[in-house]
């Protein structure tokens, strides 16, 4: 197996108040079966032996589902592969001698904490503002009491597949969170269980999104392209429709 030699230009930033800047590192002899994050592990072990502080980055499941990993690779959130999180990207998609730039998500609502780690708690606050169905434990009717057509269930699932990573925000020139918000809004407004709070939900979530400092959606569609779960921009249209109907009436 031929080893892969790479030059990495990585954003290093000590803390949220530090200015930060790029540092360049060489890594050599990598196996092309490695994942991108395993490549980062190799770099970090190398840094430890050189008495340099390892690069901080978020990750946990390494299976593309927790939404924790978040790197902008050569200018693209989660790198070059369609429908793929950083942790699921493998080195076989890079060539010997490549120079790879690695940066954190950049958005006003996602301040950098350290190196490649950002604060995405604004997403949690959006969900807290109304991204749920109000049902207390123990008060639910039988699961089959409300039949839901298969296609509706499937469509709700497609929206629910969002992993909350924030790539949509990172790639949007306005740093809008519309794809994230609309995915949750649509999942719940497609389902019969979600109807009672439908109006209120979209209003509250949109208001929270705005107050967190996310920008407005101008329909460029970049979010859909970079979303590792390929969530459709159609949900933004659906959300806007719900929102407008509410606010024209009232």
């Amino acid at each position: 197996m031929s080893g892969l030699d790479l030059t990495l230009k990585i954003w290093r930033q000590k803390s949220s108040v530090d200015n930060g800047g790029f540092e360049t590192y060489d890594v050599k002899g990598l196996n092309s079966h490695m994942s991108f994050l395993e490549m980062m592990d190799v770099l970090n072990e190398q840094l430890v032996t050189q008495n340099k502080e390892p690069v901080a980055f978020d990750h946990d499941c390494r299976e593309g589902i927790c939404g924790m990993c978040s790197m902008v690779i050569n200018g693209r959130p989660h790198g070059p592969l369609k429908g793929t999180t950083t942790c699921q990207l493998h080195m076989r998609h890079f060539n010997n001698g490549d120079i790879i730039t690695i940066e954190p998500w950049r958005a006003k609502a996602f301040p950098v904490i350290k190196d490649l780690v950002v604060d995405r708690s604004s997403f949690d606050r959006i969900i807290q503002s109304g991204g749920y169905i109000s049902v207390n434990t123990g008060s639910a009717p039988d699961g089959n009491a409300i039949p839901i057509p298969k296609d509706i269930a499937e469509e709700a699932f497609d929206a629910a597949a969002c992993i909350g990573c924030g790539a949509c925000v990172a790639t949007c020139k306005n740093a809008s969170a519309s794809l994230f918000v609309s995915a949750k809004v649509s999942q719940l407004s497609l389902l019969p269980q979600g109807q009672p709070e439908r109006k209120e939900r979209v209003n509250k979530m949109v208001a929270q999104m705005d107050s967190e400092g996310f920008g407005h959606c101008t329909n460029t569609g970049a979010c859909e392209v970079e979303c590792p779960k390929e969530i459709s921009i159609e949900y933004i249209r659906k959300m806007n429709l719900d929102y407008n109907v509410n606010n024209i009436k009232s």
Partner: protein, 638 residues
């Protein structure tokens, strides 16, 4: 230490109903004054925190990820069991109970398991009401699939992302309580110790991972929902951050730890591809519903799989277990794969893999149906390995997946420390020596939504007069100082080896000696090996960065330090249990055909360990398991 399981009297079927209707209640006015700490926001923790808050308690919730939604439960793929009998195939509470007891190889507690089966149906109702998009039939009703080790279809699923959808449901309930101010959420906080006052759990010390600050939190009760410890093996299907620290600190503060050596090795994972490997990826067990497992009949046959004709393939599970075939339980399937590979029939570069083949299924059902069922798993496999499972069989190998062992709890889910509860994967309660597929999600949500909220009232109803204890109490100060000391020691160690390299070496020892098979002499050696490596760790480990800012290396070092101590306890536990049962296979105890040989006379108990100091052997206590309803027989899947 006295182990009182507090199982209610009366017939098995009415224990829980009677308990619920007679358990003391806490009045709404008093609930508002009672504070509960819930550590962990996986299925168990998020469901418990939200339910307790809905009931009126004041809840504080902690997780080490940047959001509660990212707990390891998010990664569960296959599904969740429930005795709904929607398929009219003969399922019932009793059958789910029976399958779980049998699947656990008769090493779990009847009363707890029965209750689990009993509440399972409500879980599905609750999740549907939250908007969890489960798979549906064309008529709009809920769909089911069957899962390894059972003969009914009782598994509910949401494509291959059931854990994600269930967790997002629980997270939404939690978010609602956070917005109402009933739960105070602490993300990126790690619990580093339990605080005990007058013998009771009264709080925790947590570290803010971003600032390095230590904080003290009081609680009338403390609930641990901190997940499993599979990462002691270094390589496992668990998320990278999964760790034993919270449970381990509890153990060191007097909570007994049961059956640490009962670990589950999942048969269908993507094989290791090199030294750099950081984790292993599970390929859902549901694949065994349609995939067939085989190896070449000829040793060292290195033709490509498609060139090996049908009659030269050994479908060894179908051969050895005609009744269950490819659907035998996990422990049986894993050992059978190991047996073939040990004998030299393994495939792939390392010889440590077997084939999981969909050719028959594609011919029988068509590519579209196979893709509808498993498309996302096939894509994931392709992404990781670069191979296309539609045209060439997958290569799979067993990997560490789940830990049945954990903190000992009684029927109330309370540990041996009064006021300290353990729920979800971090307790030992329901799965005995082996867990059935799709039952961990069920247990986590059962504990959190439907069991703990009742049982905790029994304890708290006696505690309504306790006013919050100030956190300048010496017990808090002492616990915080201990934690600080430990971090200082790690940071000032000036060693020469990375934390990662120590973890990798520890994992190799635990995998080699306490993995798919174990034997006396190697366990004895392993105990010494681990001790030596632990000493080296404390002498040579190098942790860079400082304690006042975000420092993932430091966090990891603390977790690995605890894994060392746990690893040693696992070896002791495995050494002490002179029988083979479930995930614990002792080479000395097997039948002529190589099947596990249980010893019910001597070992029908939960091995429960009491901590006596890092350099002192722990004390073993036995909780005898009394089978009144099910009669243990040899598990046969033939």
């Amino acid at each position: 230490m006295i182990l009182d399981s507090k199982i209610p009297d009366g017939p098995l079927e009415s224990k829980w109903t009677k308990y619920k209707s007679t358990v003391p209640l806490v009045s709404p006015a008093n609930k508002r004054k009672l504070e509960i700490i819930v550590v962990g926001t996986g299925l168990a923790g998020a469901s418990a925190a939200s339910s307790l808050a809905e009931m009126g308690y004041q809840v504080k919730s902690f997780c080490f990820q940047d959001s509660p939604r990212r707990a390891h439960s998010i990664a569960a793929q296959g599904g969740i069991n429930a005795a709904k009998n929607y398929q009219n195939d003969g399922d019932s509470v009793y059958r789910l109970f029976y399958d779980t007891i049998k699947g656990g190889d008769y090493r779990s507690r009847e009363a707890n398991v029965y209750r689990l089966a009993e509440v399972s149906a409500s879980i599905i109702d609750q999740c549907v009401a939250q908007g969890v998009p489960f798979a549906r039939e064309y008529g709009g009703t809920l769909d089911n699939r069957s899962f390894g080790g059972v003969q009914v279809s009782r598994t509910f699923y949401a494509r291959g992302q059931t854990g994600q959808q269930l967790l997002l449901g629980a997270y939404s309930a939690l978010s609602r309580q956070i917005s109402k101010g009933n739960v105070k959420m602490y993300n990126r906080h790690e619990m580093v110790d339990i605080v005990k006052i007058d013998g009771k759990a009264r709080g925790v010390i947590v570290r803010n991972l971003l600032t390095g600050e230590f904080n003290r939190h009081f609680g009338h009760a403390v609930v641990l929902a901190t997940g499993g410890y599979g990462n002691v093996y270094y390589l496992s299907t668990n998320a990278m951050g999964s760790n034993v620290t919270a449970a381990w600190k509890a153990y060191k503060k007097g909570a007994a730890f049961s059956n640490p050596c009962f670990t589950q090795i999942h048969p269908t994972c993507i094989p290791v591809s090199g030294e750099y490997q950081s984790k292993l990826t599970l390929m859902s067990e549901s694949l065994r519903n349609d995939g067939r497992i085989w190896v070449p009949k000829k040793k060292g046959d290195n033709r490509s799989p498609n060139e090996i004709p049908e009659e030269e393939r050994d479908y060894y599970l179908e051969r050895r277990y005609p009744a269950f075939g490819n659907l035998v339980p996990r422990d049986v399937a894993s050992r059978a794969a190991k047996e073939r590979c040990d004998e030299g029939y393994g495939v792939g570069e390392t010889g440590l893999a077997v084939y999981l083949d969909f050719e028959n299924a594609i011919n029988r059902l068509g590519k579209d149906i196979v893709s509808a069922r498993y498309g996302n798993l096939f894509a994931m496999y392709d992404k990781i390995t670069g191979d296309d499972p539609y045209s060439t069989p997958m290569r799979i190998f067993p990997a560490v997946h789940y830990t049945m062992g954990g903190l000992w709890v009684d029927y109330d889910l309370m540990t041996t420390v009064p006021g300290l509860y353990a729920i979800g994967e971090c307790n030992f309660s329901d799965h005995g020596a082996n867990r059935l597929g799709a039952s961990a999600l069920m247990q986590g949500l059962a504990d959190g939504y439907f069991v703990l909220p009742y049982t905790i009232g029994k304890y708290l109803s006696q505690d309504i007069r306790t006013t919050p204890i100030k956190t300048d109490h010496e017990a808090f100060v002492e616990a915080e100082n201990d934690a600080k000391e430990r971090n200082k020691k790690l940071l000032n160690n000036n060693g020469n080896r990375s934390v990662e390299s120590f973890h990798r070496d520890l994992g190799k020892i635990v995998w080699d000696y306490c993995g798919m098979s174990r034997n006396e002499s190697s366990l004895v050696t392993a105990i010494e090996d681990i001790k030596q490596l632990r000493e080296k760790f404390w002498k040579d480990v190098k942790v860079l960065g400082d304690e006042k800012s975000y420092n993932p290396e430091l966090d990891k070092a603390g977790r690995v330090a605890d894994f060392f101590e746990l690893g040693e306890l696992m070896m002791r536990d495995a050494l002490e249990r002179n029988e083979s049962c479930g995930g614990h296979f002792r080479e000395e105890y097997q039948t002529k055909e190589g099947e596990a040989l249980r010893d019910d006379e001597e070992y029908t108990f939960a091995s429960t360990w009491e901590f006596k100091g890092v350099n002192h052997p722990p004390i073993l206590h036995k909780e005898d398991l009394d089978f009144k309803t099910v009669h243990p027989t040899q598990r046969s899947y033939k």
